[in-house]
Symmetry: C3
């Protein structure tokens, strides 16, 4: 069975299927924030979407992070490390890309189990 949750005009925020939750394309609502602030907002939304999926941050399997300025990656990493217990860290890649729309600095895709 597949469950699709939290619909927008172009996507569902969460798709659950056979023990895996797919969560995609999370950006901060307030694009005026700096990298630390946008990362906090993205992770807060991720918490909410994981909860919706019947999962939580300790069940993340894989995360891909896209950022528009590799110079502020350390600020992202600092917030990330505060947010997750070391033993719960998923696999992760951080990719520097050209454009995430407006002044968005970070966008995150995740796969978790539930």
């Amino acid at each position: 069975m597949t469950e699709r949750l939290l619909r927008t005009p172009t996507l569902h925020r969460v798709v659950r299927h056979n023990g895996l939750a797919f969560i995609g394309g999370i950006v901060a609502d307030d694009e005026g924030l700096d990298m630390a602030g946008q990362t906090r907002e993205v992770l807060s939304k991720l918490d909410a979407y994981l909860r919706e999926a019947g999962s939580d941050r300790s069940k993340l399997l894989s995360v891909t992070i896209f950022i528009t300025d590799m110079n502020v990656k350390p600020q992202m990493d600092a917030v990330w490390k505060e947010w997750l217990a070391p033993e719960d860290l998923p696999t992760r890649a951080t990719i520097g890309v050209a454009d995430l729309g407006g002044t968005t600095l970070i966008e995150l895709i995740a796969t978790a189990h539930y």
Copy 2:
């Protein structure tokens, strides 16, 4: 069991394993088309690959879209929304990247069930 289908020199278009179908790196054959045209061609190829996987567009779980010009994202979204019933929308991210080769405007990666 793993099934790999539609081989090119560097990849298989479709890999099926334990209920999940991985489909990757779809671009339009005609790079001269505008964003709406390339999106239509990419989604038409995705239909064909999903069919090969024993799946279809209503079984998409997660899609990642890379585009080279965020300004024409609305044209991509318009074609996307025509193509999928709202209740079947997968999770999705759209990432603006530097280069997809030549004048390619859009490349799409998908995970579906079958």
Copy 3:
């Protein structure tokens, strides 16, 4: 059950769950190498991480490759094709991105079974 292996300060290199191994964000240690050299190093690390996951290169399902210079993609492809038997090729996408940190030319994300 979920197993997380090879921890760094921000991630685990390998996460195993229910038959799937997630491996993320592999870059070459020696950023001074050219594309062929960095690709060889990335694939050598991928071999090691797959071994750790109880898997191997013949069990790859999906690979996403990010590169910073699409002009040297052919050098990457040449090393890739030597490394994998044609029947074992996974689905794959190659995305040209702005910045992978320093002079890193290639970063690779993989999903395998085990």
